[in-house]
Structures are given as structure tokens and as C-alpha cells.
């Protein structure tokens, strides 16, 4: 295996790791806090209702936004570190 191939493999596994972490957060805020874990969070009051309702109608959208920009920023950095960015 050439050096470039090895570097490309390292790049790809770093990418996959980043994707898995991001998707775990993605699922936690929407399916977790917004739906399945809502009863467990019902003690935390937010403006006339509970935290789960806030995550379902607002919170998850905000987290999604942060996630995409974080991923784009991190990946563009990773591209340069592994020398696979577009010249």
C-alpha cells in the first residue's frame, strides 16, 4: 500500500468517526430528547411546557444547524491536514 493510500484511509476513518459522533448527537436531540426521553425530562419546565416539547419544536433545529457547520468546518480542516483538499 502506498503512502498516499494509507493517508487516504486515515482520512476516511477520521471522517467516519466524526460522522458517527455527529449522528449520535443528531439522534439524541430529536428522537431522544424530543420524543422517547420526553417523559424523563418532563420535570424541567420551559415557558408553560417542558424541555422535551422545546426540543421537539425548536431545540433540535438549532442543534442541527450547529452540527452541520461544525462538521463542515472540521472536515475542511481535515481535508487540509491529510492533503486531500481541492487545490
Amino acid at each position: 500500500m502506498s503512502q498516499q493510500d494509507e493517508s487516504n484511509n486515515a482520512y476516511w476513518s477520521a471522517n467516519v468517526r466524526l460522522i458517527l459522533i455527529s449522528l449520535a448527537i443528531w439522534a439524541l436531540v430529536s428522537f431522544g430528547f424530543g420524543i422517547i426521553l420526553r417523559p424523563a425530562l418532563s420535570g424541567i419546565a420551559v415557558g408553560g411546557t417542558d424541555l422535551g416539547f422545546w426540543f421537539a419544536q425548536q431545540g433540535s433545529i438549532i442543534i442541527f444547524l450547529i452540527l452541520i457547520f461544525f462538521y463542515a468546518w472540521r472536515m475542511n480542516k481535515l481535508d487540509r491536514e491529510h492533503g486531500v483538499d481541492e487545490e
Binding site: N8, Y11, W12, N15, V16, I19, S22, L23, W26, S30, F31, G34, I35, I36, R38, V46, G47, G48, T49, D50, F53, W54, A56, Q57, Q58, S60, I61, I62, F64, L65, L67, I68, F69, Y71, A72, M75, N76, D79, G83, V84, D85, E86, E87
Partner: protein
């Protein structure tokens, strides 16, 4: 100036703007027709994608569905935004690197099979046409309202406008027009919401007002709303009532459907670089979030306003009188909407008042009998009219109402145009040029594209006359189909070097067919009324409604592809190399057209 003239003025002015831009940026070559020459900045592209994406379902229909159901319809909010995370992380950068024009080209090349490309085209056509039906419903309602005619006539008129508009230019014309449409639709959505939020909570930002206090009583707005709907016998607004499994599957279907919709994915082919594709997905979500963070506030506040209008003396006092509805200018919207056939009331007990309550709630029977009520008298309230009627319900100035009419049309029109483009490119570029008549000239390819647009509109109008649900629900079915067919194939194409041609084809077909059959079993075959064997109130598989089945269809797709791959010939080395190259951003040039 009366409201009718004002509406015409706003709608007319916005149309003049779009057509002006379309002429200015007219598509010349085929490459421009499909992908705007790949010169679109990520922010511009994000704005255009947002307009393309936010359709009649988001603009016209969604807040109404949330308003009348509350928490249980949060799936629309999470599902239609969460899909962008999948798109940004799993698809957009790789498809841009691949550098072709259409989704089916990628599937055809990656799975080294003309059959795979054909199957992808079919999946794409089924999902897109279902989607266009939902848009046409929205167009019908918007035209019906602002011309004050029946919604069916509005649908027929609207389809002519959509056709004329979509044929005008390709992606380039559409891209810049859609930037203008985004501006119109976001103003039209947020300005009335700001007014209403100020009226009800004193907070100018609707998203904050939703979780703020009701100015008139000092109670939290959502607590106040919960109490009013409870008094009228309806399900509590913020509580969960549906099945958790169904809600999870529904949200997931909308998310993966978003990432599988061809007209959205196509957008990411039009940015200059791979890194731009990542940013572009983020910018798209920024522009979408502006509407999606406002929508739940619009829904809750409208529900509160409607309940208070129907019970001007409180839920324990007397209901609104027929006389008041007919004469009080505050209720003029009810008269106007009645003309579209989407709103209706009937004084069943002849007491001269209109009682709006849940007559199916047993707890309310005693109260109803004591007061001589003989059933809910607000007999028809189509969910899809809520957003368009909202400024009138809140007695906002005439120009706001005109602006909302223009915004609703912009939303329906921009998405219909984007979808028609995806359909026409699938037929002319993938099906005809790619398969049947490869030697076709550029000119006849463009002609074929336009003919297929016309055919798609005709089919959508015919099916749209008997829609399978409210606009957003029809659109949700389209997402289920995209989720079950396109998304798994794209994802396996990028993240697995193993899945081979036979596996992908079998997977896509299995996902599409199983989902389509499940939908038809519940919504009627080809959406023809009364041909269904089950209903969404009592679905075939436990709590799983037809709109939630896309996630199951996707799982079937993955499983079948995996199993069939295991039984058939291994993927050739050059395809494995292709997958490796798609994963690395370096070397992403312009598009290569296959001749």
C-alpha cells in the same frame, strides 16, 4: 383599495419579478439548463435550495397541521430539518465530487448497470410525482383564495401558471428566480407572525413569544392554549397522544426522505467545490430554519386566536353569533374562505350561535346537553387554509394579507418548478439520452424535457383532484417513497465498496414496492378514493401509519441489498476505486458530460 385588488397587486408584482429574472438569466446550453454551469455561491445556492425545498407543504400546510394537533405533529419540524444533517454528512460532498448532473447517473455508474440507472429513474419519478400532487393542492388553495373561487378551479388555473413558469428556463433561471422567491416567501411568513406575536405576547420574535407569556392574562402562552383547548374538549396541545413508535418512524422517514429527494440533491451539484457542498447544506438549513422556528409559533398562536374568536366571551360564556360572523369585519375572513369550499359552519341547533367544540369527547356531553348544543357547528375547517387565513384571523392590515398570498404562491411555485425540472431531466437526460436514444441532439433533448414537464403536470392535476390527505401529508408520502428507494442506494454507494449491481437494484425495487403497496393499501390504489383496505386510524401493522412506512421501506432496501450482494458476483476493482475516489475531495473538477 379593496382586499381583492390588493392581493392581485402583490401577486402580480411578485410574478413580474420572477419572470423578469427568468428572462434575464435564460438557459442557453443543456449544461446550463440542468446545473447552472456550477457557478453558484454556497449562500446563494443555500437560499435557492431553501426556496426550492420549502414548498406549499412547509409554507401553507405545516403550521395548520401543528395548530390542530400540537406536539404530535412536531415530526414535521424535526423531520424536515434533520434531513439536512444527513444530506450534509452522508451525501452532498461525495455526490459533488462524483461530478455528474443527476442522482440516477451516480447510481448507474456506481452500480455499473443500466438497469440500476433505470430503476433509480423510476423511483425518482414516483416520489417526484407524488410530491407534485401535494404542491398542486397548495397552488389550488392559494389561487382559490386570492381569486375568491373554488379550490378545484384554482388548481386548474394554477397548473397552467406552473407550467408556463417551469418551461421558461432551466436551473440557472430557476436558481436566481428562487432567490427572489425565498425573499418573498420568508417575508410573507415572518411579517404576520411578528405582528401576531406582538399582539399576543408583546415579544417581536415569534419563536420566543411561543415560550413567553400571554400578554392579556400573564399566564404562559402554551399553558393558556392548553387550558382553552381542554375546555372545548380537544386533546391538550403540548401533550403526546399518538404512538411513540409511529412518531419516531414518521420523523425518521421525513429525515431520510429529505436526503433522498432528487430535486434537493441536484442542488448540491451546482456549487463550485466539494467544501462548498458542505457549507451549502448548512446555509440551506439556516434559511429553512428561519421559517421552521417561526412555524410552531404561527400554529399555536393561530389556534389560540381561532378559539377566542369562536368564543368571544370565554369558553364558559356565549359562543359567537351567526349575525356577528356575517356583519363584524373581524369575521370577514370566514365569509371569504367559505367561497373556496374549505371552511364551513352550520347552526345545527338553531340558537343563532356557532358552537365550536369537540363533539366526540364524552366528557363534554353533559355540558353540551345542558346548553342545548347538538354537535360542533364549525363543520369544516381545512387545515391547509390556516396560514393563508392567519393574517385575516388576527385582523392584520390588508397589505400583509396580500403579501401572504404572494408568499404562498411563491412557495408552491418554486418547488413545483424544481420538481418538474428533476422529472424532466430524469426523462430526457437519463431515460431517453442515457438509454433509449443516445444520439439525440441537444435541441431534441430540451424538447423532450419540456414535453415530460407537461405530462407530469397533467398527471399531478388528475391525481390532485382527489388528494390522499392535506398538502403536507401528501408530501410526507413522497418523502416516504424517496426514503425507501433513493437514500439507501446512495448511502450504500458511498459508504460500502461491497454492495454490487444486483444487490442495489433488488434493494431499490424491494424498498419502493413494499412502501408503495403499504401506502396504496391505506390511501387507495393510485389514490383513487374507496379502493383502500385499511385506514391510518387503524393501520395494517400496529401503530405504523402509511406516512411513517418510509423508514421501514429503507430498512428493507438495506437488508435486501446486503443479502442479494452476498449471493452474487463481487464488485469489480475499478468500481471499488471509483468509490475510493469519491470519498476524497481532491481532484473534483467541473462536470463531465457523458456523450
Amino acid at each position: 383599495m379593496d382586499q381583492f385588488t390588493l392581493n392581485l397587486l402583490f401577486v402580480g408584482a411578485s410574478f413580474a419579478l420572477y419572470i423578469g429574472i427568468a428572462i434575464w438569466a435564460r438557459a442557453g446550453s443543456t449544461s446550463e439548463f440542468y446545473a447552472a454551469g456550477r457557478g453558484v455561491h454556497p449562500v446563494t445556492n443555500g437560499m435557492a435550495t431553501a426556496a426550492d425545498w420549502m414548498s406549499a407543504a412547509s409554507f401553507i400546510s405545516m403550521a395548520g397541521l401543528i395548530a390542530f394537533t400540537g406536539y404530535d405533529n412536531s415530526s414535521f419540524l424535526m423531520g424536515w430539518t434533520g434531513g439536512y444533517v444527513l444530506l450534509a454528512l452522508l451525501l452532498a460532498p461525495y455526490l459533488r465530487k462524483f461530478g455528474k448532473f443527476t442522482v440516477s447517473e451516480f447510481i448507474g455508474d456506481r452500480f455499473y448497470s443500466k438497469t440500476a440507472r433505470m430503476v433509480a429513474v423510476i423511483c425518482l419519478l414516483v416520489a417526484s410525482i407524488t410530491y407534485v400532487i401535494g404542491q398542486m393542492q397548495g397552488v389550488g388553495i392559494a389561487f382559490g383564495r386570492f381569486l375568491e373561487i373554488d379550490a378545484t378551479l384554482g388548481l386548474l388555473l394554477g397548473s397552467c401558471v406552473v407550467f408556463a413558469y417551469a418551461v421558461f428556463g432551466g436551473m440557472k433561471g430557476v436558481t436566481y428566480t428562487q432567490v427572489a422567491q425565498y425573499c418573498v416567501l420568508i417575508m410573507a411568513y415572518t411579517i404576520p407572525a411578528v405582528f401576531i406575536s406582538l399582539q399576543l405576547t408583546g415579544n417581536p420574535i415569534p419563536a420566543l413569544g411561543l415560550f413567553g407569556d400571554h400578554a392579556a392574562t400573564g399566564e404562559p402562552l402554551l399553558a393558556k392554549l392548553d387550558q382553552i383547548v381542554r375546555d372545548l374538549g380537544f386533546a391538550e396541545y403540548t401533550a403526546a397522544h399518538g404512538s411513540t413508535i409511529n412518531m419516531v418512524l414518521f420523523t425518521l422517514s421525513l429525515m431520510i426522505g429529505t436526503a433522498g429527494l432528487p430535486h434537493v440533491i441536484m442542488r448540491f451539484f451546482t456549487v463550485p467545490k466539494v467544501s462548498d457542498a458542505r457549507w451549502s447544506a448548512g446555509w440551506t438549513l439556516v434559511f429553512i430554519a428561519l421559517l421552521y422556528l417561526t412555524a410552531p409559533a404561527v400554529g399555536a398562536m393561530a389556534r389560540l386566536n381561532i378559539s377566542e374568536l369562536m368564543w368571544p366571551n370565554g369558553t364558559d360564556g356565549a359562543a359567537v353569533s351567526v349575525e356577528q360572523i356575517e356583519n363584524d369585519p373581524q369575521y370577514a375572513w370566514m365569509e371569504t374562505w367559505q367561497k373556496t369550499g374549505l371552511l364551513g359552519w352550520e347552526d345545527k341547533n338553531g340558537d343563532g350561535k356557532i358552537q365550536y367544540y369537540n363533539d366526540k369527547n364524552a366528557d363534554l356531553q353533559a355540558k353540551a346537553e345542558a346548553n342545548g348544543w347538538t354537535g360542533n357547528e364549525l363543520t369544516n375547517f381545512n387545515r391547509d387554509i390556516l396560514v393563508l387565513a392567519n393574517p385575516e384571523i388576527a385582523s392584520l392590515p390588508g397589505w400583509v394579507i396580500g403579501l401572504v398570498a404572494a408568499g404562498g404562491l411563491a412557495a408552491a411555485l418554486s418547488t413545483a418548478a424544481g420538481l418538474l425540472l428533476a422529472i424532466s431531466s430524469a426523462v430526457s437526460h437519463d431515460l431517453l439520452k442515457g438509454q433509449l436514444t443516445p444520439n439525440m441532439s441537444e435541441k431534441s433533448e430540451l424538447l423532450a424535457a419540456r414535453i415530460s414537464m407537461a405530462a407530469a403536470i397533467v398527471v399531478a392535476v388528475l391525481l390532485g383532484l382527489n388528494p390522499p390527505g392535506f398538502a403536507a401529508q401528501t408530501v410526507a408520502l413522497a418523502f416516504g417513497l424517496a426514503a425507501a428507494s433513493i437514500f439507501p442506494a446512495l448511502m450504500m454507494g458511498i459508504f460500502s465498496t461491497r454492495i454490487n449491481n444486483t444487490g442495489a437494484v433488488a434493494g431499490m425495487l424491494a424498498g419502493l414496492v413494499v412502501t408503495l403497496v403499504y401506502i396504496f393499501l391505506h390511501k387507495g390504489w393510485f389514490f383513487i378514493p374507496d379502493t383502500n383496505s385499511f385506514t391510518d386510524a387503524d393501520p395494517l401493522l400496529g401503530p405504523i401509519k402509511s406516512t411513517s412506512f418510509g423508514a421501514i421501506g429503507a430498512a428493507v432496501n438495506f437488508a435486501v441489498a446486503y443479502i442479494v450482494t452476498g449471493m452474487t458476483k463481487e464488485t469489480p476493482q475499478e468500481i471499488k476505486d471509483l468509490v475510493q475516489s469519491v470519498r476524497i475531495p481532491r481532484g473534483a473538477g467541473g462536470a463531465i458530460e457523458d456523450h
